[in-house]
Structure formats: structure tokens, C-alpha cells
Amino acid sequence: MVSSTIDHMVAVTVFLAATLLFIGLFNQTIQTAVIYQRHRATATKASDLLDNMLLSPGIPVNWGQTDIVPTGFGLQDPEFTQYRISPFSLMRLNSSTGTPVYYPKTGLTYSNITMGFGQSLLVPFSSTLNYSTALRLLGINGTYGFSLTMTPIVTVSISEVQSNPLTLSINVFGAGSPLAYAEVSYCFMIIKGREGGAYPSYTIDYGTTLANSAGVASLVFPGFDGTEDSYVIIAYAHLSGLVGVGYHEHVVYDENYVVPFVSNFETGEVLLAHSWDVHGGDHPAEIAYNATFVLLSEDFTLREMPLDNETGKIVGKLNYGQDPQHAYNNLTINTHNPGILIVTYSKSAVESGVVIMPWGISSLAFPVTFGGDSSKQEWVATDMRQVIVGGIAYQAKIALWSLEGYQVVG
């Protein structure tokens, strides 16, 4: 009787201990499987979300060309189908990388994409679409966070090999290898200071050349000394449907210059401000400017489209520290075809420079990063697509993470 009771007690104790142990072990196994499923679901969501963004133009379809807040988020170019992205919708995304710029004369803060001196895109926050609005429009507010990166596939880098005569080297690289034997078309602009006139003048030269087997092309401009005058070169490279753009500028004077701000997407209004009012600096002085606009035509050559003098000041003067009514000038870009606004400026006959601004993000192949910070997340799913933005090849990459707070095991 006693041995039977002891047998029962031992058996029950061992069984209970074993049950508790196995519950813990099975729980760990099940948790692993659940996390696997959740990660898998996040990865599927990333792919779906990226397609949702890229294959829908949003509501209204032309929201990228207006200043209204869309009621549906999408980046597709409404004039095309499939993975063709609107260069203007991308312009309206609030950049998550550049430091915002405050311009006291308008009292507005601007989203900033700057690629170097005189190569910037500044869009007022009031006209941009911010991350939280995008999350709400995509229906993932509180459940997922994302970061969307649009990067040009082809990198066209231009460097100065020699100043006199000016010799430039154009390097064309793709994501994986050089774009050998690519055809390169370029627009070369030489800026002259206020010689015999109140405003700077410029000459534009167009041409084409061919890259070698290493994706390198060389350009020589006989009779032009690169140290004497400011210049800017914009080059398009294309091969078998792959198109990229690059630019290089050299300015002889950069103490005072023009800062262009996008003012109105619908009317194409751009503000031209004095740099001292935006960034400060030493030796502020009055500058004169002369603006023009170039388009990329279908045969990959650049074409100058005169700006309208009636609706803005194509040429003018800017002084620093003026009252807001006289601090900046307006001009209007009367097209919603992607192009490049080129503003030459000068303080004197020998002190000149040039700044450029893309109208449509693709015309200067500016990269765009929009969304949250993925680096602080525990587990991030990524996916990518190859897309065309305004004729330029881009790679669209999404990083998506869950906000539901589960952990990584394994």
C-alpha cells in the first residue's frame, strides 16, 4: 500500500515536471513559427505596398502637378501604364534626408534635396506630402512603417581633367557595371558676367559623343579656359533603353548667388532668392541673373525652351536684406514636361556663376528618400523594382517594418 502511494506520488511529480518543461519547449517552437509567419507577411506586404505605390497614380491622378493634398497615394505617371513614375509626384514627397531650409522672407520651411553647390531642389513643406499623411493614405498607419528610396540606375559623373583647353571626362556607370559604348548627349553652357549689359549672358553648345569600353567619354573644348569663366555641363547617357543623366558645374564666384525655390506646382511658379537671405555668408552684394529652361527631347538631345517674360522676370537683380516684398523675384515655368531651370548670375563682368534646379525630379536624376528611418528597426523587409521616371532609369526600393512590437528569435 505504501509502495503504491509512493509510486503514485513519484509518477505525478515527474509527470507534472515533464509537462511544465514541455509546455515551455513547445511554446518556444510555436513562437519561432509565429515570428517566421509574421516576417513572411511583412515581406509580402513590402512587395504589395511597393506595387501599390508604383502602379497607381493616386487620387487625383495629377496631384503631382498641383498643390493639393491627395486623397489616394500613388506615384505612377497618369499618362502611362505599368512602372512609369511621375517625376512631379516624386518632387512633392518630403525628403527625409536633406536638412530643411527656412527662408525668412516667405516665412516658409522648405524640403531640401541638395546634390552640391548650385544643384538643389527646395519645395515648401506646405506643398509636400509628408510621411504621416502617406501612411494614412496607404492604410498602414500604426501597423507598418516604410522608407521608399528612388535611386538613378545609371550614374553619369563628370570631372575636369584639364582647365585650358577645358577637357572633361564623363564616366557612365550602371548599378552593376560600366555602361560601355553608351551614347552621350550634352548641353554645355558658358556664362559671361555683366559685360556691357546689366545682366549676365550665356552661350549654349549642344553635342554628342560615345563612351569607350570602360564607359568613359572625353570632351575637349578648344579655346575655352575653364578657370576664366563659369560653366555648366549636363550630359545624358543612353544605351538599350537605359538612360541616365549627370552634370558638372564650375563657378568662378560663389559668395553671392541665386537660390531657386519652388513656389507653386500648378502654375510652375519659382522664387529666385538672394543666397545671403537664405544661407548668410560674407561680403553680401547685389547680383544680376538671367534664367533659361532646357528640356530633354525624345531623341535624347537637350532643347532650350524660352521662359515667358510676361509672367515672371527672366532677367533681374537681387539684393540682400530687402523687405519681403522686394527680396525675391518670380518666374514661371509654363510646362509640366521635365526640364532643367538654369539660372546664371553675376556680380561683375568677371564674377559669375550658375545654379540649376530640376523641374521634375528626373531631369537631373536627383535621388529621393521618403519615409521613416529603417536603421532603428529590429527587422526590415526590402524589395525593389526597376522603373522609368521621366525617361530616366531608376531603381525603386522599399524598406518595410512592422510596428506591432514582436521580437526576433533565432
Binding site: 517566421y36 512609369r84 550602371g174 533603353g241 537605359l242 538612360v243 509654363n334 524589395d383 522603373v387 522609368i388
Partner: protein, 430 residues
Amino acid sequence: MMRTIEVLIVIIIITGAFIAASFFAVLPWPRQVSPVNLRRLAFTTLQMLDSNYDLSRAAFETENYTIWGGLQIALSASLPPNVIYNLTVYEVTGETTQLYTFIDSMSNAESLGVTSDASSYMVASSNVTFNVVPEKIGEHSGGGGTLYILNCSDAPGWWITGYTAQSLAQDLYNLLSPYFSNTIMVQNTAQLGQILGNTSLQGETVQNAVVINTCGEAVPIPTAYCTTPYSNDGYAYYNWFLGQRVRQYNWTWASIVGYPFYYVSNIGYFTGQNDWGIYGMKAVYAAGLNSFLRGLNGQGYVTDTIGWITSELTSVPLSTDAIYYSNYYGIYPAPYQTATRALPVGITSAYNLAVTTSLFDPVSGYRAGAVYRNNVSGGFLALGLTRTPDIRLTALGLLADYKPRLYRSEYTAKGTSRIVVLQLGLVGGA
């Protein structure tokens, strides 16, 4: 002792179950949990390479090493370094036993590994002609069918910023000439004077014609009409006369942009400029349009007292009809336009006009673009949009109004289509 042994047996069984469950429920590698969607990447890569039909060209010229090699360079350059590929081209044979025949392939690796996926993309040969024969306007109605495009070299334009009247005329010719029995470029104002006098230029029928004014807000005026009475009230009388002629000849007059009949232009006669630096034109102001509408309505000439009648609508969407005909004729202007010179809907009752084609639906009592027809004779296409003009809208408005049919020929895919398969794999990493 028996109970303890039973419990031990149970523990052994559960342990076995746990080991078996653990064997299957392991966390996979990150690549398996969150794979790059290689199928979509392959598809979008093919689409991108064919964005200018370069892939289509290369798929049909695999023996051309320059083109085929260019495609391989572009493909290698477009994919990330850790992605390997195999691109294969097949001929669509249409045979019952074998649908696809291998043509050629390219690859940057011997094997695509265990993780790979593929997408296919159909391309058509550039030699394929999808023949479309348009019906000629006036072909069956027995009269008309003439398109006059005012390409007057001696008349400058206004509000056609970025273009010249001549470049617009050439684009219109390319777009619309297949739909008309005769397309005549009116090369100067003297020739305009001829057709205003019912004299044909090349033996065409003057009556029932369509006249497109490519000079924007300016209207060419022949030198012979630069005198009284046509010059009365700052040339408003000339515009009344044009309206009268449109009614008399049953023309359809097309104004491509801005405020119609705002200027008259003749570079040989007008020596002054229009206050904006354009020489060779004179402002008639709003009286030009009002006088034209009176002439079109068969009313006598009176000095205009109405003045400015248009309004700004900013962004206006294409009407449902316009979108339908946009798809039918394959003419795709931007779906939203900016209208700064929209005409009031009230002109229809004031001048006995009916809207036969509405490119934009009315907003707040104003219509941005439409074809108006008088209840007796004559028509008027007015596009009150802001510059820069989009002549696709002019073409769309006229085609939507005349509705010429398109006769499409049949074609076969055999020998004219190829399928391109891009298979992608990943190398390196976990």
C-alpha cells in the same frame, strides 16, 4: 512502480514529438523569409529595357552583335551586382506541337543557383504593320473634306510660346491629314484672302472646310483686308467678316489657345508691336470674338459694347466623351488642363449655338473647350486654355466632332512576335 514507468514512457513519447516538431519548425534564412521578388524585378527590368523599344529591336536582331551586345551591357548595368541572369529569346511559332523555338540567349553565370525566378515579356517586330485606314471626313457626305491649316509666313502668332505657327502647322498636318480628303497649308495671308473669296488654292472644295488658326490669339489678316470697312473699330469688323464667311461657307473655325480673335496679324502691314515686343500685329481686344460670334450668327455688324466675356477655371478635367475619343484615336493630351479663357455657356443662347462636342464639362457656367455649331451654318472650336498650346487637343476636338471611323486590318502573330524570358538568381550572402 508501474505508474512511474508509464510516466517515463509518456515523457519519451512527448520528447520524440518535440524533436520531430523542432526538426520542421526551424527559422529559415533571412533570404527565405524576406526574398527579393525576383519575378517582379525581372519583369520591371524587361519593361525598362523596352521603354524605347530597344529590347524589341534586339530580340529580332540577335545576329547583330552591336545591338545584342548593347543589350547585354545594359542588362548587366541595370541589375545589382549580386543578381545573376539568363536572358533567352524564343520565337512564337504558332505550331501545335511546339509553341516556342529557341533563338538565342545571354547569361553572366553558368548556373543561377537554387533561388531563381523568371518573367517573360512579349515583343513585336518593328516590321509588323498594324494597318489602320481612317475614314476621310467628307468622303461620304459628298462635300467638304478640306482642312486648311493657316501656316502664314507673314503673320506672327501670340500665346503660342515655345512654338512657331509653322511648327504647330506641321504637327497638325501630321496628325490630321490622314482624316481629310484634302489638307492645304495656307502659306501666307494672300492665300487666306483667296479662300475668303471662295477661290480654291489647289482645286479643293472651299465649302464645308475646317480652318485651323495656328497663330493662337492672333488671326492672320490679308493686306487687302487691312483697309476700311475691315479696319473699323480696330479691326473688329474684320473678325465679324470672318464669322460671316464661316457661316456662309459652313466652315469650322478652330482657335487653338487663349482668347480667340484678340489680335490681327500681318507683318507686312502692321509696323508696331503689341505692347509685349511682338511686331506685326494689332490688338482688337475682346471685340474681336464678340464680332466674330455676331457674324457667325448672321447678325449685322455693330460696334462692340459687351467687352471681355471669358473667365479663369484653372484646372479642368477632360470630359468623358473626350477621354473616349482620346482612346479611340490614340491621341493622349494631359487629362487635366489649365483654362484661363473659358467661354460662358450663355453664348449658346445668345448666338444660336449648340455644343456638338464638349472637350471639358462646364464649370461654374464656363466651358474651357468645345465645338459650337450655329443652328443655320458654321462651327467654331474654341480652346480657352492657357499657353503653351497643346495641338493634340485641337486634333482631338475636331476628330471627336466629325467622328471619322478607323478601319483596322487584321494581323497574325506568327513570325512577328517573340518572347523574352529573363531568369534572375542571387549570389552571395545568407
